[in-house]
Each structure stands twice: as C-alpha cells, then as structure tokens.
C-alpha cells in the first residue's frame, strides 16, 4: 500500500509503468491531500498501514521522519540522483522525485477589464494597483502556501520577507485552503491573480482557461515531491522495490512529462509555457529548515494575516 499526494489523473500512468516493471507486486494507491496524508502518517506511526510513500512534499517527509515514521533506504539509482533531491544523511530516509515551484496565474480577461498590467516579480504584486486582486494559498493549510512563504523567508531574509508580506497582504483578497484553488479561481475570473504552483498553472492553462503563467524572476519558493519507505512497513521488500522504481530513470522521464525539474538532471524537458531558466529563479532553500521552523513560521503568519476583522 502506497500513500501518495500525486494528482489523481497522473496515478494511472505511474501504476501502469510500475505494473510492467513489477507484475508480481500488488500495488494499492491511497491518494489524498498533503495535509490529510501527513496527519494520517503521524497518527498511524505506531501501527503503520502504508508500506511506502510516493510524491509527498519533502517538508512533510521531514516532518514524518522526525517523528520516526521513515525507514532509511538508499534506492538503486541513487548515484544518478541530483544531490539536491535527497536528505543529507549517508543512507537517505527520503529521496525527491520532482520539484514543484510557485507560479502565478493571471486571468488576461479580468486583468484587462481592471486595467492591471501583467506582473513580473513578487515585488510587483505588492504594488497598490493590485489591491483586492490577488488570491494566495494559506500556508497554514496548504503545502504550496508554505513553500511560497518559506521561499521568501529563506531567500530574502526574515525581516525583509515579513515586510514584503505585510505589503502583499494589503492586496490579497483571500487566502485559500489549497495550492490549486487560487489558480482555478483565477481561471474562473473570481480573482484576477492567483498564486499557485507550476504544475497546476500549466494544466489549467492547457484546459483552455484564459490565463498566462508568470514565474517571478527570483526568489521562487519550491518544494520537492519525495518518496520513501515507511518504518515498520508490513511489506518492506515490496516497499523498497517500489522506491527503487520511483527513482528509476524510466519513472523520472514520466515525471518530466508534468514537471520541469526532476531528480535525474538530464531527464528534464521543460514545458513551453514555463521559462527555460526556471532553475535559476528558485530561492536558495533548505527543506529541513522549512520543516524545523514550520510551527514558528505558521504561528507568526497566522498572527499577522489571519482573521482580518481582528486586526482592523
């Protein structure tokens, strides 16, 4: 049994490939949102149901790991995996499959109607002309929200980042509970600009929504989808075989169909709607920092930006 936060419509593709490689293993997906799965993994720590974890945010992996939920395992293909894609221990507890990055969805029809220029940088979004024009995910309930905020905090330095968020907050009309919602709300024109993530932005645009995708020129927050073996798994052999497959070149080329940056560097083939220099725009970030400072950052964020009525 594999817990995964991968998109529902991607799983069939992965399942077919894994079945081809390991017809002898009976694969059962359990798909849910990052928050639900993390809560589940933490709650089931003493009596785990999952054998392996697939495509869960590395920040969550670090969180589960620090609760003792992950077993150390070095997948066969580890030699070809970019060092950025694994935790720092000699035998990693988790390894990353693909990077997801923050991205901005701008509804061209609504932007034109309100006379808003297309933004290029994060700082642009803090311009008062965008007042009540922006939706972003709430970092307290969305992994994408957290990676976006963590990118600012680690990239700009905390003082500057909070000052920026104070200015941005004046323009934000709503903080959504998921990383997809701001982009889809932008697609429906409920809000002109939604801060979301690359995969969702590319997908929503390809479905015909009137949006353009903006990846800011610098300090773009990111996280990794990661896999690992659950400590105390009932089927450890199968779990290791699964993680071996998840890190294989073949699997990486599948991820590359949806993600711009994947664990094996030369497997990447960037989407035409994303900038080719995406990797250079990413903020310098440490997943462990995000996991360790998560509670502190969130309570500060909640104190500053949640429950607007209380602050006015």
């Amino acid at each position: 049994m594999v817990y995964t936060a991968a998109e529902a419509d991607q799983l069939t593709k992965y399942e077919r490939a894994f079945k081809r490689a390991h017809p002898e293993i009976d694969l059962v997906w359990v798909r849910d949102s990052t928050g639900v799965l993390t809560a589940k993994l933490l709650a089931e720590r003493k009596a785990p149901r999952a054998d392996a974890i697939f495509a869960l945010a590395a920040t969550s992996m670090a969180q589960v790991d620090s609760a003792g939920g992950l077993a150390p395992y070095s997948p066969k293909n580890i030699g070809r995996i970019d060092p950025m894609f694994r935790d720092s221990r000699a035998i990693p507890h988790w390894t990353g499959t693909a990077v997801l990055t923050a991205a901005i969805c701008v509804n061209t029809i609504e932007a034109k109607r309100r006379g808003l220029p297309i933004p290029n940088t994060w700082e642009d979004l803090a311009n008062p002309i965008y007042k009540d024009a922006i939706s972003m995910p709430n970092p307290a309930s969305s992994g994408v929200g957290l990676l976006t905020v963590a990118g600012w905090l680690q990239g700009l330095g905390e003082a500057e980042a909070w000052a920026f968020m104070d200015r941005l907050d004046r323009n934000v009309v709503s903080y959504a509970h998921s990383g997809s919602k701001p982009c889809k709300d932008a697609a429906r024109g409920e809000v002109p600009i939604g801060i979301s993530f690359d995969f969702r932005a590319v997908k929503t645009q390809s479905e015909g929504a009137p949006i353009v995708i903006v990846v800011p020129t610098r300090m773009v927050g990111w996280d990794m989808e990661a896999s690992g073996v659950v400590a105390g798994a009932r089927h450890p052999e199968a779990a290791r075989a699964f993680v071996d497959w998840a890190m294989s070149d073949e699997a990486m080329s599948l991820y590359a169909e949806s993600f711009a940056i994947v664990g094996v560097a030369n497997a990447s083939k960037p989407a035409p709607s994303l900038p080719p220099d995406l990797a250079n725009r990413l903020a310098p970030m440490d997943v462990a920092w995000t996991a360790n400072n998560r509670m502190r950052v969130l309570s500060e964020w909640v104190r500053r930006y949640e429950g607007r009525a209380a602050r006015q």
């Binding site: 419509d9 928050g35 709503s174 889809k184 009525a309």
Partner: protein, 579 residues
C-alpha cells in the same frame, strides 16, 4: 380472560433479568459514544508530556484569531436563528394555517436544501453573487464573500429544518381554543398572540435551537464563502488536517460541544412540554377563507421557493457549462469526475454507506427504543440509557469524528481494527444521527398497545415472537421513515466522515469539500446535484413503498394482533422531525 388469570399468567421478570437488555444497551453506548468523547476531552487537556493541563485552552484563548472564531461562531448562530425563525414561521404558518395556493409544490421544493450537503447552496450563492455571479451587478459593487455570505448560506440551509419543526408545532393547533377566543370577542391579532404564539412557543424554542446548532457546527458554508471569517467548525478542520495539531483540534471540538450540550438539553425539555400541550380531545382547525391573507402568503411562499430553487438551478447550470463563466456552451466535462479525487466511485460508496446506515441504523434505533420502552428496566438504568440515546443530538459531527479518530486510532485500543475501515464510518454515522431515529422509534412504539407483550406471555409466546409478528409489521412505516432520514443524512454529511473515511473509500459529500478546496467548483456542483437526485429518488421510492406498507403492515399484523389484544390501533406516523 379475567384480570386475575392475566396477572397470575405473567411471570414477573426478575429485576436482574429485566436489567440485562438495558444494561447491554448502556454498555454499547458507553463504547461507541462516551469513551470516544472522553478520549477527546482528555486529549484537549493533555500537554506535550502527556500530563493533564489547561494550557491548550489558555493558548487557544490567547490567540486573537482563534478567539475571534468563538465570537464569529456565536454571532453567526444567533443571527441565523433570529432571521430563520420568523421567515420559517411565516412559511409554516402559510402552509398550516392559511389557504395559500400551491402548498404541495412549495413545501416540497423548499425541502430541497435538506437533500444536499450545505456546500451546494453556498456554491449556488457564489454562482449568483460571486465576482462573476449572474446577479452580482445588482449588488452595486458588493460580493457574497465574508460574514454576510456565510450567514445567508446558513439561513438557506437551516430554513427547511425550521419549517419542518414549526409545521409540526402549528399543525397541532386545537380548534376549540380558537372558537372560544372568537366567542370571547378576540380579534385576529389578539387570537394570534393569546392562542397561536403560546401554543407554538416550545416549537419555536426547539426550532431555534436546531437552527443555532446547525449554524455553529456547519463547515460547508464557511469553507466556500467565509474568506477571512473564521468559525470554530473550520478551525477544527484546519487544526487537524492542515496543521496536524490534534490537541488544539480537540480544544476547539470541546468548545463546540459545550453549547450544543446545553442547548439540546433545553430543546428536549421544550419538546416534552410541547407534546403535553395537545390533548387527545384536540380538534383540527381548518383555516377560514381570507383573500388578502391568502394572496399575501402565496406571494411570500412563492418568493421563498423561487429563491431556493434558483440557487440549485444555478448550480446545475454551472455544472453543465463548458467553462463557467467564459464559455457557457453545454458540456458534460464537469461530470468527468474520474479526473478528481474519489470520482464516480465516491457516489457509489456514499450510496452504499447510506444504505447500510439506513438499514442498520433503523434496526439499532428500533432495538434501542424497544429496550427503553418495553423491557421495563429499573428507572435509573432506563434514565441513563435515554440520556445516552439523546447525547448524539448534542454532539457536533466534527467533534464526534475527531473523537472516533482519536479513540479508535489508538493501536492500544482492542477495537482499533475497525479504524480506517468501512465499519468505523458506519458506526460513526449511525451514532451521529441516532437520536432522532431513536425518538421516532419511541413515539412509534408508544402508539402501539402496551398490552401486546403481557398478552403474548399469557399465550405462551415469547417477546421475540411479538416483535416479529406484531410490532415490526405495525411499525413498518415509521421504520421506513427512519431509514429514509438516515439515508438522506448519510448521503449529505461531511462533518463526522471527514476524519474517518477509509482512504480507499471516498465519500461523495467529502469529495465535494475536497473539490471545492482544490478550486474545482463546477465538478463539485455536479456531484452535489447528483447527491440531490439520489436522495430525491430514494425519497420518492420510500413514499411509494410507505403507502403500500401502511396497508400491508396492518393486514399482516392484524390476525396476530387481534389474537393478542383485540383490534390494533393505527401505527403512528413518524414525527415531522424525522424527515
């Protein structure tokens, strides 16, 4: 048969034997209700080192945004109640006490929100009054998001529940009182104040409490429309699923449980008074003709019905548009639910769960009611069981769900094996809606002759024989109504299930919440309308079956019943509260 032989023929059950069924019932209730709630309370009081402390509560109240949630929740509940009560009273009054036209159509259409998760009317409001809403230009620059949007949505969701309860109260009018008042020269306004209002005051209290409790425990409307408007129900959800903070989630759940407990206690008191107000000699009142009044009520009823129907119609239209609001051409794209979490399987799962809940819940409630009413346990034991049977009504679904997750999720618990399975979902859902089912069973049983069992004992028949041959057939109709009530609620509930559904058994109602969270509003609306259609279909089927059963039940049970106790009284119809 003389009373002497009857008495001597009865083997007086020993007090210990009589205590067994009620004892078992209490033990079951302790396992599935008291123990989980105690776990929840303990968790809210446990510090990082496991020691008991009030620190979590202190931390909660020291956080301004969370403190604000307490205020918001209270205000939302109060405002919803104050607005819904007069609106629902007028509607119920129109149906029960005037000759307003189209009563059947209006009362049926206004029940629709009961058949859907509360998320659906909230989404309807977005489609009508959101930034791209059809009617937003009428708002002069305002939009639906925020406190007022949540309030309107709660009003829509609670309205039919209040109407059901107020209709029940208003239908019990005693015409004799009105005749006397007229003879004494009281005008219509005086009669309304002196006769009508006092006779429904307990109904008003009861409806007010149901509305208040629904509004403060609902998660759907705040999730869709709330924006910055934080409420306790959403806080539980965010604390547990967003931040994996079970302690703080338990604190919020306890804060939500406390007022519900008090209020449901008051409501039960009110409804027992209400029942006592109608004597067996009451005669039904037929409203006299009054053109102006009837036209006014017809207009009001039509306006309300139109407003409710247009919310749902908009959801259906949005679900059938290719890309709302930019491309309104017809498309089934939103019905391609396999692209989203749960997919069509979630709807099948929900129907499966609802069916299982309906069957096992109706049996459980009927058995529970039978134990309480017919096995003559010691008064103290019976009192305890009655209290336990009513406790679920006071337990918000989110609190119950979290309590179950904490209690059964603990591997040290011998019942841990049901955690993460269909079984825990089934048990939790049955318990969540047990109280109304129990009360309906009680009133159905009370309507039957108490002498069936003693008479059967004289004839050498066991209690089981009586139940199977007489009581069950005569109660078939109320049993069906209970099953229908459970089915509809199991299809629409989000709250208890959201913490409990097995990961490979997604539910339709939960998937609507998830799809809305992910921004997939049109498929969420499509799924919500599917739930509505399933519930509507099942309701119509049950109505058809009910009228047949009413006939068949009497025919089946009649010979045995006559043999036991002479002609049986008609089985009572399930109370309005059950529908």
């Amino acid at each position: 048969m003389s009373s002497v032989t009857l008495r001597s023929g009865l083997r007086a059950p020993s007090p210990i034997a009589a205590a067994v069924p009620a004892g078992i019932a209490c033990a079951v209730a302790a396992l599935v209700l008291l123990a989980p709630l105690a776990t929840l309370a303990l968790r809210s009081l446990s510090g990082p080192d496991g020691a008991l402390t009030l620190a979590n509560y202190g931390r909660y109240l020291a956080t301004p945004t969370l403190r604000e949630s307490v205020m918001n929740t209270g205000l939302l509940g109060g405002a919803t109640t104050l607005i819904v009560l007069p609106l629902a009273f007028l509607f119920a009054f129109g149906i029960e006490r005037t000759n307003m036209r189209f009563k059947g159509v209006m009362s049926a259409l206004c029940l629709f929100p009961v058949l859907t998760p509360s998320l659906l009317p909230a989404m309807g409001l977005v489609y009508l009054f959101g930034h791209q809403g059809l009617l937003t230009p009428l708002l002069g620059g305002n939009v639906i998001y925020g406190a007022h949007g949540v309030l309107i949505s709660e009003i829509v969701a609670a309205f039919p529940h209040a109407v059901i309860m107020l209709r029940a109260a208003l239908s019990m009018a005693d015409a004799r009182l009105y005749e006397q008042a007229e003879i004494l020269g009281a005008g219509p306004w005086r009669r309304f104040r002196a006769v009508t209002l006092p006779s429904v005051r307990y109904g008003l209290v009861g409806a007010g409490i149901v509305v208040f409790t629904r509004a403060i425990t609902d998660i759907g409307a705040p999730a869709v429309l709330g924006g910055d408007f934080g409420v306790l129900a959403l806080d539980i959800y965010k604390q547990v699923l967003g931040q994996q903070n079970f302690e703080m989630g338990s604190v919020v759940a306890m804060l939500l449980l406390a007022p519900s407990l008090v209020l449901v206690g008051v409501e039960r008191l009110a409804s027992s008074r209400q029942a006592a107000m109608v004597s067996g000699k009451s005669t039904a009142r037929h409203p006299p003709r009054h053109v102006l009044r009837d036209v006014a009520f017809t207009t009001y009823g039509a306006a309300v019905t139109l407003a409710l129907a247009s919310l749902l119609l908009t959801c259906q239209m949005a679900a059938l548009a290719r890309m709302w609001p930019y491309d309104l051409s017809f498309s089934f794209a939103s019905y391609d639910l396999e692209r989203y979490d749960g997919g069509w399987r979630a709807l099948r799962n929900s129907i499966g769960l609802a069916t299982a809940v309906a069957v096992s819940g109706a049996l459980a409630a009927f058995t529970g009611a039978y134990v309480a009413q017919r096995t003559r346990p010691a008064p103290a034991l019976r009192g305890l069981f009655v209290l336990l049977a009513l406790l679920p009504a006071a337990t918000p679904g989110l609190a119950l769900g979290l309590a179950y997750a904490l209690f059964f999720g603990d591997p040290a618990n011998p019942f841990h094996l049901i955690y993460g399975t269909f079984a825990i979902l089934l048990v939790a859902t049955v318990i969540h809606f047990y109280s109304v089912a129990h009360l309906t069973s009680v009133s159905a049983l009370n309507a039957l002759d108490v002498e069936f069992e003693p008479a059967a004992a004289v004839l050498g028949r066991g209690a089981l024989h009586t139940v199977v041959r007489v009581i069950a057939p005569l109660s078939a109709v109320p049993l069906l109504e209970i099953a229908l009530y459970l089915f509809v609620n199991a299809m629409t509930t989000v709250s208890a299930a959201v913490f409990l559904y097995p990961t490979d058994f997604k539910l339709a109602s939960v998937s609507i919440l998830n799809m809305d969270d992910a921004g997939d509003m049109a498929p969420a609306a499509a799924m919500g309308m599917m739930i509505l259609y399933v519930n509507l279909g099942v309701r119509l089927l049950a109505q058809g079956a009910g009228s047949r059963l009413r006939h068949a039940g009497n025919v089946l049970a009649a010979p045995t019943a006559r043999a036991l106790a002479g002609p049986a009284s008609d089985p009572v119809q399930a109370s309005g509260a059950a529908t």
